[in-house]
Amino acid sequence: MAFIVVFGPLLAAIIAGLFHKQIGTRASQLITTGATIAAALASAWLFVDVAILGNARTYELAQWMAVGNFDISWDIRLDSLSAVMLVVVTSVSALVHVYSWGYMADDPHRSRFFAYLSLFTFAMLSLVTADNFLQMFFGWEGVGLASYLLIGFWYKKKSANDAAIKAFVTNRVGDFGLALGVMAVFAVFGTLDFDTVFGQVDDGTVQTLTLFGLEFMALELIAFLLFIGAMGKSAQFFLHVWLPDAMEGPTPVSALIHAATMVTAGVFLVCRCYPIYELAPNTSAIITFIGATTALFAATVGLAQNDIKRVIAYSTCSQLGYMFFAAGLGLYSAAMFHLFTHAFFKALLFLGAGSVIHGLHHEQDMRNMGGIYKLLPVTWLMMIIGTLALTGVGIPLLNLGFAGFFSKDMIIEEAFMAGADGVTFGYFAFVVAIIAAGLTSFYSWRLIFMTFHGKFRGDKHTLDHAHESPWVMIVPLLLLAIGAIFAGGLFRSDFVARGALEFWGGSLPPGPYAEGNYGEGAHGHHPPTWVLFSPIAVTVLGFVLAYWFYVVKEGLPAKIAARGGPLHSFLANKWYFDEIYDFIFVRGARGLGDLFWKVGDRRIIDGFGPDGVAGTVMQAGRRIVRLQSGYLYHYAFVMLIGVLGLAVWLVARAGGQ
């Protein structure tokens, strides 16, 4: 089973990628889609077997390398944590494969696209099933590559290429940190094997490592370096800049890679390494702070974006922030729970947005949309469900609500309790999470209202040809919608409550506030009731405001935007991150490069080096050739001068001595 899951997509990717000319586009699509669907079914079976029935196990496939005591193998590690990731990755991937049949129907290079998708799936699966840091790093780099290829899939579009390079370069920064972290792990523990490292993790609290001339506690440093890797991949504050631009890729890619799976790899990494983070309180505090900041920052930027995909991208960024601060506060199971539910409703939102874009002939600007809910009724309904799930609509105390309600509110509540328990940044995270929840509600409903309601603002031609998407695109939406509605309620107990201890089976702590922690039948701590109700309250507030601005007073926000107040420009320009980075890094590097190139290389090295020397040599050659006049007496003269010169030289030297 595990082999089908991991290697099916790889095989499909190889066949479709290398032999699509022989087997044709349709066969490539069939093979890749079939392989991922099979992987999804097998994953579901594994999920039941491993997570529900508790049969965790590890397959050792082959030795990768053995140098001294550096012994690395290829493994498939199956425990509850990886089983959850398997389900998320393969099911979303399978649905995205199906969806792409419709979305990419007109693209002549579909087989390449499907091969990349399957390649990505394989890389992600080898990441989550890794049993050591190096294989995880392999998968980590693999998904980075696939992400690069898919963002730049339409490589003739300059913006897509730029975005792909931006994503790759930004991720390099993070990956560099991750690589250093992995090396530090080996330096401290002498192995990269997860179980061995986690087994002797206490050693790391005693040892110290020196970096940049400063001495750090080994475990804190390892934790921090690994987190830098996670920041890059999961688009956290400072390294988030690539994610919105990555929306240049085809929308199914955004749904699969930049919402549901790859960007959650960072969260997975932190959860997988929770024994390290448990003992690294300072780094955990940093994670909490960065995560909370990201949640708020991305939510504010989401308010002012007009590109439908960018809004959702910032929303993703913001939700990843939730997951991170949860992990930073030690709420690993809650982080994973949110990761799990988020995958469904965020993929749903992206694919829904893709459906809108498809229906409106690749129009992505919400200012050119409006009032199309009658034309795309199913899409509209699905987007509503996605939004309800994202904003976490539900009724506290009754445990009735959409998926996001359970996972997000769980994070918010537990953050409050962590704050009450004195965990660093606990209250900060709680407050930020509440504010961000309100903002989330506002921008999500703004998206719905601007896209589907009011009057159509685009050109008439587009409207005339607007159409609902074909069934291959609708069916994945319906399936994801089921997940978005029920995934939270169904799995709450297993992930974060009564069944958590048994469910995670040691791969994750059930969480400090999980009911299962306190024995059968006992109830854990409960936050005050106002805490339970505050998220839904700000959510409703956000909805009302959005309704007021974008439905009742339709056109008012556009005027505000046109007036261009400083706050609006600040948000619309994404806190000027791109400009600042451009100024410091891009232009700095450019300037440095220009200096080295124009002055250093062209003027100094080339000038005195190749060009200068070549010029001088040719000049000398010209003179020598001119000496060769062809006149006999010139030649004889040169000979006599030569004899004379030699004689004088010798005599002068002899006389001098």
């Binding site: 050659g621 050739v625 006999l632 030569g642 004899v643 030699l646 010798l650």
Partner: protein, 483 residues
């Protein structure tokens, strides 16, 4: 001279006797054979046979331990035997290269191989010279034959001009040499090398002057700068096989003679002549490297290439050590092989309308004649000393000798000029491999030339295996000198 003593002397000069008597005989025979071309062909074949015979005698039948003849005027040692063998074979190769060319250019006359034989005889005497008289005798015998060969195509204005220039300048250099010899005789009291060596231990100014003039005269023969001026004009003007001959055997013979003169009679004056050879080396390397860059005629380019290569050999000689002797011998041997092959390629540059000699005529050779292009590439890069072709080891050891003698700076200068000189070899190869063909294709070269280019081309790589063997040979040969 008594009979047995004369016989003993004659037994040492069997190769020379073969060449001398053979040349006379062939001269007579040529007159009686009917048909000019037939005569030329037969005489040429016979001359080749004589050269190979002489080489065989020199290699296999030489008396053990060598000896001297004619009161020390003639020295037979491992050094001169090695040089003779190479010179004879190089002359034979020149004859092979020449045959077809002379026939198609209507130059086939039986005097040509006879002149080659006589020139070779002169070289043979040169490398065995044991006093100044024998030295001059050999040199003049060689030169006179070469003057005629240079102007062999007497109906061509250029060839006549080249021959005349070579003759006048050669006469000048002979004059310099003779003047130097007379000075040496005057101040040393003898023409014999052994006696001069004694006088050189306490050199007078007159002897230094004599040295300068003698070396200048010999430098003309190896076309070391600033006595090189004749070389480009003569190479370009003379018939191509003659240029091929000029570039190989006489260069080696003159270099060997120079080594012997400097190491034996003037061995004690190494401090003085080192300065001369260093100056000559630097000038030659510089002019060879820089002058060739702008050439458009492949034969002129080869002339500059040979000037430069003599410079590298002089770098090795400047070390004035035993290593210097064998390193230069090895270098010259590899150089002769490379140049013989390169001229083979030049002789293959024939289109339907006639010979071409411009470098741009080589454009696209890799497409029309890949085998030839490959051989040319190996040959040029080997001459240039590109690792890891066999020519690299030649250069390596001359620089090694210089470094060993403390002349690191000279080796560095040599390396720099060597790098520059690679540029013009690469310019040719760029034409060969990357340019589109212009003009018609070359017609098939005769089998004789094709074999020479292929064998030498393969040798640039294949000889790598034989480098240890060659080293033992040249070290053995060199041990006779400089001790």
């Amino acid at each position: 001279m008594t009979g047995p003593a004369l016989l003993a002397d004659l037994s040492l000069i069997i190769p020379e006797l073969i060449l001398a008597v053979g040349a006379m005989g062939l001269l007579l025979a040529g007159v009686f054979i009917k048909g000019e071309e037939t005569a030329a062909r037969l005489v040429s074949l016979a001359a080749m046979a004589l050269l190979i015979l002489a080489a065989g005698v020199a290699v296999f039948l030489a008396p053990q331990g060598g000896g001297t003849a004619f009161f020390g005027a003639f020295v037979l040692d491992s050094f001169s035997l090695y040089a003779k063998a190479v010179v004879y074979l190089a002359a034979a190769i020149a004859l092979v290269l020449a045959g077809h060319y002379l026939r198609t250019e209507r130059l086939a006359r039986f005097e040509f191989p006879v002149l080659i034989l006589l020139a070779t005889l002169g070289m043979s005497v040169m490398v065995s010279a044991g006093d100044l008289i024998a030295l001059y005798l050999g040199l003049e015998l060689q030169s006179l034959a070469l003057y005629i060969l240079a102007a062999f195509n007497r109906d061509s204005l250029r060839a006549s001009e080249a021959g005349l220039k070579y003759f006048v300048l050669g006469a000048l250099s002979s004059g310099l040499l003779l003047y130097g010899a007379s000075l040496v005789y005057g101040f040393a009291g003898s023409t014999e090398f052994g006696a001069i060596a004694l006088a050189a231990e306490n050199p007078s100014v007159g002897l230094v002057f004599g040295l300068v003039f003698v070396v200048s005269g010999l430098a003309f023969k190896i076309s070391a700068a600033p006595f090189h001026m004749w070389t480009p004009d003569v190479y370009e003007g003379a018939p191509t096989p003659v240029a091929a001959f000029f570039a190989t055997a006489p260069k080696l013979a003159a270099m060997v003679l120079l080594i012997r003169v400097l190491m034996e009679p003037f061995g004690a004056m190494a401090d003085q002549w080192q300065q001369i050879t260093i100056i000559l080396a630097i000038l030659s390397m510089g002019i060879g490297a820089l002058g060739a860059l702008l050439q458009t005629n492949i034969k002129r380019l080869m002339a500059y290439s040979s000037i430069g290569n003599m410079g590298y050999a002089l770098v090795g000689l400047s070390a004035a050590s035993e290593a210097a002797v064998w390193a230069v011998l090895l270098y010259m041997t590899l150089y002769v092989i490379g140049v013989a092959g390169a001229f083979g390629v030049i002789l293959s540059m024939r289109r339907a309308e006639g010979m071409v000699e411009r470098i741009e005529d080589l454009a696209g050779l890799s497409k029309s004649r890949p085998g030839l292009a490959l051989a040319f590439t190996g040959l040029l890069l080997s001459i240039g000393g590109m690792p890891f072709l066999v020519g690299f080891f030649g250069k390596l050891f001359v620089f090694y000798a210089a470094v060993q003698a403390g002349l690191v700076w000279l080796a560095v200068i040599g390396g720099l000029f060597s790098a520059i000189s690679i540029a013009y070899y690469l310019m040719i190869l760029k034409r060969v491999w990357f340019d589109e063909p212009t003009g018609g294709e070359f017609i098939n070269p005769p089998a004789s030339v094709a074999i020479i280019t292929r064998v030498t081309g393969i040798a640039t790589v294949g000889l790598l295996l034989l480098v240890p063997f060659m080293l033992t040979r040249v070290i053995e040969a060199g041990s006779a000198i400089g001790g």
